[in-house]
């Protein structure tokens, strides 16, 4: 099988997440170590792969409120974090959960919370605070059917646009996804690296199917995946530390809150000391900073896996577990001689517009496969040169999208009827 991983370097962070091309059967590099260490090969659900990735990345604090289908993450953390001397708190709700990890992150810990759609809705206010105050956070959203309490035990990909636009005001955010447990582990590690590098909330999102799907996971040796540690100020005690004085490269060294420096943190527009400001120049600079530090790096942050894309006449674009269905269709079609290809997005936000445009340039048609009413479809239409060549293959009834569902759309697109 032909498959390659696209990733580019973004400061120290992407070096941490750069993956080599996948092997001939599409399995990840970690698969090659499976035989060498039986004890580190696990058979676990996606939620556990995510939790293991967070522990590998150096998670030091988790606050959460259990919600199906993400509860296993909190359950695992409640056991594993105290075992290694770190903290777990079960909060009274999701609002408090996100507020708790904001505070813990400022004190110097790598932090995470996990939730699903209804809880993620409650987190929007504190998410905006995290963006404005530039706090490294990792938020796991295991998507279930919505809106509202929707379908707790059924999968969906309905939170795509909420992640981007859920909290008010102009801002940007990073969101990553994966379609296998091994990839989910690596994606979670990458989320921590990006959160620390860019001082921003990063959302790891996947759906109920992957959250509960058990499959092989090989835990890499310590050091096998590079980790990004927080950039801390070198300013000693007694010297003025400016928590929000932006360096030339866009980065802001941090100082552990409660340590040697006293400073202010606020959700209001603020100056270099962290105190509220309405000075137009200060506001303008900060507004551009929190937006540009992510949006202007969209190409660097973009990561995807490609399958049979070299000569593809019809391109599928998908992400998360539905990408596995699309990949099955492409794989089978290639055996039958049809020139189909798949671009599996692993970076959802910032939207990888250039990567999508390039992938679709030579395609006769593009079919977006997702489990919502076309949340990513509209962004892809906007990105390509010929929006009329983009079609949607979706499913929103809670059942997992099947190869048959996709092939039906393919037939219609190709003018072959249903």
């Amino acid at each position: 099988m032909s498959s390659t991983t696209r990733s580019s370097r973004a400061n120290g962070a992407a070096a941490a997440t750069d993956r080599t091309s996948t092997g001939s059967n599409g399995s990840r590099a970690a698969g090659t170590t499976a035989a060498t260490a039986k004890s580190r090969t696990l058979f676990v659900p996606g939620n556990e792969a995510c939790a293991e990735g967070a522990l590998y990345a150096g998670l030091g604090f988790f606050a959460g409120y259990p919600i199906t289908p993400s509860s296993e993450i909190a359950e695992i953390m409640s056991r594993r974090l105290p075992e290694r001397g770190d903290r777990f708190i079960q909060m009274e709700d999701e609002i408090a959960s996100l507020c708790a990890i904001v505070g813990a992150s400022l004190t110097g810990s790598k932090v995470m919370t996990a939730t699903s759609g209804p809880g993620f809705s409650l987190m929007q206010e504190a998410l905006g605070y995290g963006i404005m105050a530039e706090i490294p956070l990792v938020i796991v959203d295991v998507m279930r059917g919505g809106p509202s309490t929707g379908m707790p035990t059924q999968g969906s990909q309905g939170d795509i646009n909420q992640i981007r636009w859920g909290t008010h005001g102009d801002h940007s955010i990073i969101a990553l996804t994966a379609s296998t447990n091994q990839a989910l582990f690596e994606t979670t590690v990458r989320a921590f690296n990006l959160a620390e590098t860019y001082r921003t909330p990063v959302v790891v999102l996947y759906d109920e199917l992957l959250g509960h799907l058990r499959e092989k996971l090989t835990i890499p040796e310590p050091g096998e995946l590079p980790l990004v540690e927080r950039l801390r100020t070198g300013v000693p005690e007694g010297v003025d530390y400016h928590p929000y004085l932006i360096r030339e490269d866009g980065r802001l060294p941090m100082s552990d809150f409660g340590g040697v420096h006293r400073y202010n943190v606020t959700g209001l527009y603020h100056d270099m000391w962290g105190f509220p400001s309405t000075d137009p120049r200060t506001v303008d600079e900060l507004a551009h900073h929190i937006y540009d530090k992510i949006e202007l790096r969209a190409d660097e942050l973009a990561q995807a896996r490609e399958f049979y894309m070299e000569d593809a006449e019809i391109v599928f674009i998908s992400y998360g577990s539905p990408a596995r269905t699309a990949r099955q269709v492409v794989h089978q079609a290639r055996i039958n001689g049809q020139r189909l290809g798949l671009l599996e997005l692993e970076t959802i936000w910032p939207f990888p517009a250039r990567m999508v445009r390039d992938a679709c340039r030579n395609a006769r048609s593009t079919i977006v496969v997702e489990m919502n009413m076309g949340q990513m479809y509209y962004h892809i239409r906007n990105a390509v040169e010929n929006p009329r060549s983009v079609f949607l293959s979706n499913r929103v009834d809670g059942r997992f999208i099947t190869p048959k569902d996709i092939r039906r759309v393919l037939r219609i697109v190709e003018g072959q009827g249903e």
Partner: protein
């Protein structure tokens, strides 16, 4: 080769645990690939429950079972709900008393007295799920019998009843005189095995 299996029953019978053990045997003991997923209702006991297991020598792309090479049922409710999932000519393994086979189905049907045999041997109905695993492993060879036993030993250390249940499942197949069945398909080409021996 790729194998797609579904085990169905009602909540409390250990159906999902059986699916996990079977898939775990392939991954941990045999170094192969497997995925396991489940569907169940909100009830703690008595609700319809099902686990899908795919075992393969190569990476598994599409993780769900739409048509199963083998369906095993431990309850008649599950059999009537899931019999449509069997691939034509596939294999149906049921509990003789709890889920009598439906004769009109296009599949090879094997009834075994799992519950009765376990009750006779141990006086209870615990471990019937492991008994059916022993039968599946011996009947289909989807995992090696000794590897399944190793998985049971690691999962339930010192639990002789668990191990005995697996062996009992194997004995039931041996005693029945049924020959081993080979049903997988080539994962690369999607072609069916040509070595069916039934």
């Amino acid at each position: 080769m790729i194998w797609k299996l579904v085990i169905g029953g009602v909540g409390g019978q250990g159906i999902i645990t059986a699916g996990i053990i079977l898939a775990e045997t392939a991954v941990i003991q045999e170094g192969r690939f497997a995925v396991q997923s489940q569907t169940y209702g909100a009830e703690m006991r008595g609700g319809l429950t099902r686990t899908d297991v795919i075992i393969s020598d190569d990476e598994i792309i599409y993780p769900k079972v739409d048509q199963a090479h083998m369906l095993a049922c431990l309850h008649r409710k599950a059999l009537s709900a899931y019999h449509g999932m069997i691939r034509p000519g596939g294999l149906l393994v049921t509990d003789r008393d709890e889920a009598p086979a439906l004769k009109r189905l296009d599949c090879r049907q094997y009834e075994f007295p799992f519950s009765a045999a376990v009750r006779e041997r141990t006086g209870g109905v615990r471990n019937v799920n492991l008994c059916i695993l022993g039968a599946i492993a011996h009947l289909t060879g989807v995992v090696q019998m000794e590897h399944l036993e190793d998985a049971i030993r690691e999962r339930y250390p010192g639990n002789d009843l668990a191990l005995a249940a697996v062996k009992l499942g194997q004995e039931l197949v041996v005693d029945s005189g049924f020959r081993a069945v080979h049903l997988g398909e080539d994962g690369r080409t999607g072609r069916h095995a040509t070595s069916a021996r039934v």
